[in-house]
């Protein structure tokens, strides 16, 4: 126990300030101000891997490490789409995941935000759009913000999430 406490004290707080939103990532018009003001304080995210290689998942997991400390911003991951305000969707949408992705979208309460993640989520990436893959996420469900990268860095993912809940030129509440 002493060793554990000593380690916690030695390391201290390493969390960094979050990056600002980036309007260039926006794919759809921002939400109405009244809705944003409700979502701004605490956002619940459901992640959906719709066919990713697991690269984007590793960087999503990094959001909760002490450096990015996403929960410190009032943003957390939840276990069900029914509890979520925002869907974070990765992968070119595999044909075998299309039905599950539609169900998840339908199960998410309005107003729902969608952030498509990674080159595959944005364009289909190296896997493209053919046969077993449906390509970009917006081919299946509406997308608000698209964050490219293979995989995108945690800072870019946070920017994407903050952009989805922020209005033009306005930091999240």
């Amino acid at each position: 126990m002493l060793k554990t406490l000593r380690k916690i004290c030695q390391v201290g707080v390493v969390s960094e300030a979050a990056p600002p939103p980036d309007e260039l990532l926006r794919a759809r018009a921002a939400l109405d101000e009244s809705i944003r003001s409700v979502l701004g304080r605490a956002l619940c995210i459901r992640h959906v891997d719709a066919g990713s290689c697991n690269g984007c998942e590793l960087e999503i997991q990094a959001l909760n490490n002490p450096y990015y400390n996403l929960e410190g911003l009032g943003i957390r991951f939840v276990a069900s789409p029914r509890h979520a305000d925002l869907l974070l969707v990765t992968g070119p949408v595999a044909a075998n995941m299309e039905a599950a992705l539609r169900l998840v979208y339908a199960a998410t309460p309005d107003p729902k935000l969608v952030v498509a993640l990674g080159d595959c989520g944005c364009t289909g990436g190296i896997f493209g759009e053919r046969g077993a893959t449906r390509g970009r996420v917006s081919n299946i469900i509406p997308v608000d913000v698209a964050v490219p990268g293979c995989p995108p860095s945690p800072a870019r993912i946070i920017q994407g999430i903050l952009t989805a809940i922020a209005g033009a030129g306005r930091a999240p509440a």
Binding site: K3, T4, K7, I8, V11, V14, H47, V48, D49, A50, G51, S52, C53, N54, G55, C56, E57, L58, E59, I60, Q61, A62, N64, N65, P66, Y67, Y68, F77, A79, S80, P81, G91, P92, A94, A95, N96, M97, A100, V104, G125, I126, F127, G128, R130, G131, A132, T133, C150, P151, S153
Partner: protein, 498 residues
Amino acid sequence: MPLAKWWDRARELPGAPRTRGLGLTAEDWSRCAADVAASGGRLLAMWASECGDCDNGATIHAAFLADRGVLVIELSVSGARAPAAEPFDYPGIESLFPCASRMQRAIFDVSRVRSSDPDRRPWLRHPPEGPELVRVAGEGVHEIAVGPVHAGTIEPGHFRFSVVGEKVLRLEERFGYTHKGVERRFTELPLLEGHRLAARIAGDSAVAYSWAYCQALEGMAGCAIAPRAAALRAILLELERIANHLGDVGALANDAGFAFGLAQFSRIKEELLRALSHAFGQRYLLDAVVPGGTRGDVSAATAESLAARIIAIGKEAAELRAIYEEHSGVRDRFAGAGILTPALASRLGVLGLAGRASGQALDTRIDFPSAPYDKLPPARILRQEGDVAARVAVRFDELAESCRLVESLLGSLPSGAHLGPIRVPADGSFATGLIEGWRGPVFVALEAGPEGRTRRCHAHDPSWQNWPAIEHAILGNIVADFPLINKSFNLAYSGVDL
């Protein structure tokens, strides 16, 4: 017939060291597989390729890991079978190697050639009415369906538990959700660009896959890579192993209710990823290995700072390991959970990290080494207990050993080029690649087409062999321990869905 006779008849294959190929008749195919099984060999991979000289035909390939090396056997099957007369195209080998069953089902889904396996349920092609699963009946038995969308940030797959009370009576896995047509996609890419797709089959094993692909490509092109390139690739591979193990030992503590472990190890992993970004321009090494060598080189100063970082990580990991070992709650959750006995691991052909935690000694870096591992053999890490604690211990030991290897490789980098020229291989060339990724051996079989095109590429993840072992390891455990047991294996979904 002893296995040696088949081995002596076989032709040398380029690419992975000590690999041979042998075309067989259907009778000999079954005999050879039986001889491999009798001599303690393992199934490494199975795949089908289109037959060049027969209509609708195919060639079935099976690669075995035997004492002398990797033996690839091939069987040509004609697509002209009369369905009523002959209910299958080739004799299945699932009774000798149980892990072959899913591979044979996947082969049918992709290539439409059928094995004699009585289990004919589709694997990659999902029927619209949902999966057909084996049901457990009895008083008080009920089912818990999990996935494909899971509660955590992980890949999609379906798990069907049959439980009585909290105890698991049966688990059946159903995958294929992330099937992206990878093997067809390879044939649309030039041979010299396939490494980029290989790296994205399982993003956490990008170095292992891209190296295995490049090993096959360079083998068929007859281009040996420079010693510096080989050393750099090994550094990248060991760094990938360290990064994944750091992530896993942290997540495992968290699943055991010790959030401190996740906080500390996810911090250390982040520090490593930042060091990788500085040294190689990427946090995850998806484009680091290229045909002919590596994309980038490291300067002496970078090598020094990276080595210092690795030494620091090794020290911190050892310090935290001691904390884990003194923590009674963590010990209680890890010890005795999800036991996979050595006998069962051997029967199921379990590979890699999970195998080494259950008495299966195989490590292809040691047993079939390619440069630079022939000069710098890793220590063999082996446990017999087969529980979550053993898989955690193997990770900690491998983490320390990989830190030692990276430090040693960085300190003795050969001079010379990190990237050499590569020729376009001749039409019809065939070669393999075999690299020990952090989960276990990653295997690539590559066949060249005309004008630098790809005729066939099969990439094989050790998760094919290891997923069925989880169905056994969970039996008798409680449902609430599944996340912990599953994480202790941490197998690939995208890597097997292809």
